[in-house]
């Protein structure tokens, strides 16, 4: 049984009206007939430009937003009719929601542990374990409002795993973290998948992170799924690579590249050309024939970020 199955999920926000009844904002469809599944132990990325419908989708998957139509089933059970039972098995962390600021870290986790039905022993064990795991055990007795953004995020992650969930929804979990801590979190996610078979639905604006962690990526644009593939396969849809050259005659080189109609940027003496992967050899040959020599060369193959930039441009 798949941990999550979403069928024809649609969210149309009703028209917003002023006090006098005139329409302020017309109805708006944020998520349009979206269907997907998350397999057991799978890490599914949810990508898309701002306003694509990622957060709206996640909110519906957590029951904090009512869908207009469609079905959500966790572990084969309808979410709307088994909400409380299902939510005990779902973890959630987001960089954009808060915890009560006056409560200490331990108190907050105590409260959430109780809300998830953990007994005293389970709470004590798991709180200790996750605070250590996320490197915030020394902050256990500090008020949550006194933590930095990164520390709060790690406490939120500890909260998300307290109930030993079978599926975890993470909305930009590493947004406020230092690179080394973010790397630890990514490793933690991969470990949980390997050891406990936990499934993840993951949103992030860090494309390198998505490539590293996610098995599969859903790309949303204007509320619709426009791609569903592995990060590598999505990156391969972008044919343009970036060729960087340190050339002896920059003016001559840029004239030559302009004539070919290729987009380029100049960074000091460095020339960056956006070019089809397959045409790189030909470009280099042409430059050489024109008497332009280069002393440094680097080629950056298309990455998920390039794909993201491409679809974001399309969205605009």
């Amino acid at each position: 049984m798949n941990p999550l199955k979403v069928t024809n999920l649609t969210k149309t926000f009703p028209a917003q009206r002023t006090f006098w009844g005139t329409v302020k904002n017309p109805p708006f469809t944020a998520v349009d007939n979206v269907s997907f599944e998350v397999q057991e132990g799978e890490i599914l990325g949810l990508l898309g430009p701002n306003g694509a419908g990622k957060t709206t989708t996640i909110q519906m998957l957590l029951s904090t937003l009512k869908p207009t139509s469609g079905e959500i089933a966790y572990f084969g059970k309808n979410f709307f009719t088994n909400r409380s039972e299902i939510l005990t098995q779902i973890g959630f962390a987001s960089a954009y929601v808060g915890l009560p600021k006056r409560l200490t870290v331990r108190e907050n986790l105590e409260v959430y542990g109780r809300l998830y039905g953990l007994n005293r022993e389970q709470r004590n064990t798991r709180i200790k374990k996750y605070l250590e795991e996320f490197g915030v055990d020394h902050l256990a007795n500090r008020e949550t409002g006194a933590l930095s953004a990164g520390e709060t995020t790690r406490v939120m992650l500890a909260k998300a795993f307290l109930s030993y969930p079978k599926i975890v929804l993470l909305d930009e979990p590493t947004a406020a973290l230092d690179p080394d801590i973010a790397q630890d979190i990514r490793q933690f996610i991969l470990d949980r998948r390997e050891k406990d078979g936990v499934s993840f639905l993951f949103t992030s604006h860090n494309m390198g992170e998505v490539t590293e962690v996610c098995d599969r990526v859903l790309v949303l644009q204007h509320g619709k799924i426009i791609a569903d593939d592995t990060p590598e396969a999505l990156a391969a849809k972008v044919s343009m690579a970036h060729l960087e050259l340190l050339v002896n005659d920059l003016e001559k080189a840029t004239t030559r590249i302009s004539k070919r109609g290729l987009p380029y940027k100049v960074h000091g003496h460095l020339l960056e050309i956006e070019v089809n992967e397959h045409a790189i050899a030909q470009i280099l040959q042409e430059l050489t024939h024109a008497g332009i020599t280069y002393t440094q060369i680097s080629i950056r193959k298309p990455q998920l970020e390039d794909y993201f930039v491409m679809i974001a441009k399309q969205a605009k």
Binding site: F13, P14, T55, T56, Q59, L62, S63, T64, L65, K66, R83, S84, E85, L87, T88, I90, F92, S94, V97, G98, L99, P100, K101, R102, L103, T104, E107, E110, V111, Y112, R114, L115, Y116, G117, E143, M156, K159
Partner: protein, 261 residues
């Protein structure tokens, strides 16, 4: 079905909050003390020639009014706390249900209400020689009625907060005092002009406070007042809880996230 563990969890959440936030203790002790003392001395002066029964009726109502203020405030303040800390989204991604949240608030209201009532009755005894227990067995139905009024009002404010979000926070502070003006706590509803009298008579508070006055002034009509207060309280509490559920459900059409901005 409600889950008692989740209710207990929410209760501890607000007790933790109170233990860290000493300013919230001011709500429980400073304002009741200020209100009771100021009104008590004014009543002492005004009723100097009228007799001790008048003073008792005013002080008795003042002490019991603090119960209404506190029980109302505890329910609505807890909703506001969740909105201000942006915890409301986190909270409702756990298995809790709105009725469990309300139940926890009602339990906390009862605890806070009893604490404030005890505190105010001690102040009244020490400063004005008034004994709340002089109400005898009537104290029980009166306190229950006033508690129900307080939580019904708090639940109504919660409904507004869960629909309008932080923008409605003013309601948390002012609605209770509006009911103080027309609820018959400071003076009987009979002294109000007809339109306000009609409103006062549709509010259970005015019947409950009349019972206190009647008892101290030695007049009758106690039973039907208690009955009217009980019926209206039950009705308003049912309406308020149903309004919370209805408006919360409407909010889910737009998403809980919108409440926090």
């Amino acid at each position: 079905m409600v889950d008692k563990n989740r209710i207990y969890a929410l209760t501890t959440r607000y007790i933790y909050q109170l233990s860290h936030d000493r300013w919230h203790l001011a709500d429980m002790f400073y304002w009741p003390f200020f209100d009771l003392t100021a009104m008590g001395y004014m009543a002492t002066w005004v009723s100097r020639d009228a007799g001790s029964s008048w003073l008792s009726s005013i002080i008795g109502c003042m002490v019991l009014w603090q119960l209404v203020v506190q029980t109302n405030f505890v329910v609505s303040k807890n909703a506001l706390l969740e909105l201000i800390s942006a915890n409301v989204l986190n909270l409702f991604t756990t298995p809790i249900q709105i009725r469990e949240w309300l139940t926890a608030c009602f339990i906390l209201s009862a605890i806070a209400g009893c604490t404030v009532l005890l505190f105010c009755s001690l102040i009244a005894k020490a400063l004005f020689g008034y004994n709340l227990l002089s109400l005898g067995w009537l104290l029980v139905p009166v306190v229950i009625n006033l508690y129900l009024s307080g939580i019904a009002l708090g639940t109504f404010v919660t409904a507004l907060l869960f629909y309008y979000g932080i923008r409605a926070q003013t309601a948390t502070y002012i609605l209770g005092w509006i009911f103080g003006l027309i609820g018959g706590s400071y003076y009987p509803a009979d002294v109000l002009p007809l339109p306000f009298w009609l409103i006062a008579r549709s509010i259970p508070l005015s019947y409950a406070f009349d019972v206190v006055r009647y008892h101290h002034l030695g007049t009758t009509f106690i039973w039907h007042n208690l009955l009217a207060a009980a019926i209206l309280n039950t009705l308003y509490l049912l309406l308020a809880t149903s309004l919370v559920r209805r408006l919360f459900s409407r909010t889910l059409r737009y998403g809980l996230a919108r409440l926090t901005y």
